[in-house]
């Protein structure tokens, strides 16, 4: 079974690469810090965003209905999907109806979550990811490792090699400008040939029925404007009530994501152009279930900025693929167990609970508290393994009883002093790269009994 710990250990075999990964993401976080610290009302903005999202989640049904009504009035086709399979079928049916062969996509984590690409490709459709990072990982047959910077685990040498193999660039080339130009020419052809464009959605406005897609490369616009049919796929939590609320979220999103004041393209789509077709697919896929879990509903406030990834000291040193889920990082670790507790039981433990994620999050999701709460549920449901459960029971028995605790403490220390190899061996994961603490002769309590004549508190 794949676990975060095992995958992270593999990732750590190449320490220089870990350092590079860590530095690259830390650079992004620092840019974010500078931007956030330059806005005096930053903390109020976060609070405002959090309140809007709270309000929206409490009235999600009404806002979704309102959104649908306005979108239909705008001439948009609206579809509802209960899960990933339905979502993929809906998209495929639209493609089939027109007899299309080639589609271009701009980045959408939802379609990653639903494994849309694999499905469409297996049906004989050509699916091209048009976000540069996405295209790189697609050529390598890898999933994205980060929701905003999908190829952040790759160096320019890796990209050069990939492009050499697939796009015929010169061997050994690693100049970003040269490589980007090659990708640009390649993607131009794909854009022009595409029958249909598929995009994600950053915000869907209930009041107008319009959607907003944020990209830095303009690839969503290029795809949607060139093709005759545009499908936009969104999780139902992307709804915001009013057009005016966008001002709050657009200010927070780009700053939190990359430290830019705003994404290069914030494109608003309201209705299809004359003679063209626009579809919106609203997807649940476990979201209403999460909404019903009082302790975890807050996780649906997420606007996918990835600030929690960049700030997470564990993510930076374990890489996105170690999370073995479409949305990695701290937020992925609280979303994934909702979908499959057994498969993702390891993720809430892939954290030190340092709390940096909750404080960086622009919509104030209590991420680290939710990690803690998931641990309780996973242990209760028996997903943490019998060895751990037995160990914990034993530990609890020792620590609950002062007499046993003192006995275990003094014998433990005695053994560590006289037979240090008991703990200093290769079976002890502490000792692999760390020395054991040196056991003192007496505990603090022993010292206290000797040195404070009349011990109080007996």
């Amino acid at each position: 079974m794949i676990t975060h710990a095992k995958e992270a250990e593999k990732f750590n075999k190449d320490e220089a690469r870990v350092d590079w990964h860590d530095d690259t993401l830390w650079f992004v976080r620092q840019k974010r810090d500078r931007m956030a610290h330059n806005i005096p009302e930053w903390e109020q903005l976060r609070e405002k965003a959090s309140q809007i999202k709270n309000h929206t989640l409490s009235n999600l049904d009404q806002y979704l209905i309102q959104f649908e009504k306005h979108a239909l009035a705008n001439g948009v086709h609206v579809h509802w999907a209960a899960n990933a399979v339905e979502h993929n079928q809906i998209v495929f049916q639209i493609i089939q109806k027109h007899g299309f062969q080639k589609i271009v996509k701009s980045k959408s984590m939802l379609t990653e979550e639903c494994h849309l690409n694999e499905f469409l490709i297996s049906q004989g459709i050509e699916v091209i990811d048009t976000d540069l990072g996405e295209r790189i990982v697609q050529l390598r047959h890898e999933p994205p490792s980060h929701i905003v910077l999908p190829a952040i685990h790759l160096k320019k040498e890796d990209v050069g090699e990939t492009f050499h193999q697939h796009l015929g660039t010169e061997k050994g080339a690693k100049d970003p400008q040269y490589l980007t130009e090659a990708a640009r020419q390649h993607l131009r052809e794909k854009f022009i040939a595409a029958d249909l464009a598929l995009t994600g959605v950053n915000f869907a406005v209930a009041e107008t029925g319009g959607i907003v897609v944020c990209t830095n490369e303009g690839n969503a616009d290029m795809g949607a404007h060139l093709a005759n049919v545009h499908i936009a796929c969104m999780g139902i939590e992307k709804i915001i009530p009013r057009q005016a609320d966008l001002s709050v979220f657009l200010r927070l999103l780009a700053r939190s994501a990359t430290g830019q004041p705003i994404t290069t393209y914030s494109s608003h789509f309201l209705r299809p152009a004359p003679g063209k077709e626009m579809h919106i697919v609203l997807v649940d896929n476990g979201r209403t279930e999460q909404l019903a879990r009082a302790d975890f509903r807050n996780s649906l406030k997420c606007i996918r900025c990835a600030a929690c990834f960049n700030t997470c000291p564990v993510y930076r040193r374990s890489g996105g693929h170690s999370y073995h889920t479409a949305v990695a990082g701290p937020i992925g670790s609280i979303l994934a167990p909702n979908i499959d507790m057994r498969k993702y039981a390891d993720l809430p433990f892939a954290s030190t609970l340092c709390g940096s994620c909750s404080n960086v999050c622009p919509v104030k999701i209590d991420i680290h508290d939710q990690l803690w709460k998931w641990r309780q549920i996973l242990a209760q449901e028996g997903h943490t393994g019998t060895a751990k459960a037995t160990g914990m029971k034993l530990m609890s028995a020792v620590l609950s009883n002062p007499d046993i605790y003192r006995f275990a403490g003094s014998t433990g220390r005695w053994f560590l002093r006289h037979v240090p190899s008991l703990a200093s061996n290769s079976l002890n994961p502490w000792f692999k790269q760390r020395e054991m603490p040196e056991p003192p002769k007496e505990s603090f309590r022993d010292w206290y009994m000797k040195n404070r004549k009349k011990p109080k508190g007996e």
């Binding site: 992270a8 750590n12 709390g355 641990r375 609890s396 009883n401 056991p439 003192p440 007496e442």
Partner: protein, 247 residues
């Protein structure tokens, strides 16, 4: 003012000097301190591993040891945070609530309750401070780089009162060291890498000591330093603040 001294289990067993320094320091500052003899552990190791249903014994024991004090003080931000957030006792719910309100981490007790503004301590060394996450972000002992807030540091403020101490700031002032309770063994590779990176910054700053308010983080850093045969030593902040007595 009656102060109950809480010495977390691993400090009691492995770092008695931290307990001694804490006790002496509080006494020196005029507190009437008692150490309840039947204390054990706050229950955090079980709770953070998902087994908060197994902490009832620890909780009840904690309540019976500490319910009679005006304040409870411990030299460990992490254990204090756990008690503050999670202590429960079905038989004495109101006592548990009182304890949650009255427990303080050592540095916050010194700055917020005793409000001390000078200390007769001296420690003429170059020192790096490790801000432990549960103390910093959980108890808000210092400002965090993620938030847009005025910068402050209660441990830093206290260390500034120590004669001869040269405090050098790490480049990433508040990054986690990777200890994380059982994380340090279940995610051994990442845990150690995080610890090495924290140490690396202090090595660059050429410190003689790394200090902090959480012995657990310090124990993890110490384990790595010793394996690297580094001359940098680990010292709990209580030992520095109490240094004029023990030296």
């Amino acid at each position: 003012m009656k102060v109950g001294l809480f010495i977390p289990c691993y400090i009691d067993q492995f770092y008695p000097n931290v307990g001694i320094a804490t006790l002496e320091l509080l006494e020196k500052l005029g507190c009437n301190v008692a150490f309840p003899l039947n204390q054990t552990c706050c229950g955090q190791p079980m709770a953070n591993s998902g087994y908060s249903n197994l902490t009832k014994g620890c909780d009840a024991n904690f309540v019976s040891n500490f319910s009679e004090f005006d304040y409870i003080v411990a030299p460990s931000g992490s254990c204090v945070l756990h008690i503050k957030e999670h202590l429960k006792d079905a038989d004495h719910p109101e006592k548990a609530i009182q304890i949650r309100k009255r427990i303080f981490e050592l540095c916050e007790f010194l700055t917020d309750v005793l409000k001390i503004d000078n200390l007769p301590a001296s420690f003429p060394h170059r020192v790096g401070l490790h801000a432990s996450c549960h103390g910093q972000r959980g108890l808000h002992l210092s400002s965090m780089s993620e938030r847009n807030e005025p910068s402050f540091s209660k441990p830093g403020h206290l260390l500034s009162m120590v004669k001869g101490l040269d405090l050098v700031q790490a480049e990433r002032p508040d990054e986690c060291c990777g200890f994380g309770g059982t994380f340090c063994v279940f995610e051994e590779a990442v845990s150690v890498k995080m610890g090495k990176d924290r140490i690396g910054e202090h090595v660059q700053n050429q410190v003689e000591y790394i200090t902090g308010g959480d012995t657990s983080c310090l124990m993890h850093l110490e384990g790595i330093l010793k394996r690297q045969q580094s001359p940098i030593r680990i010292i709990h902040i209580a030992e520095i603040l109490n240094s004029s007595i023990s030296n």
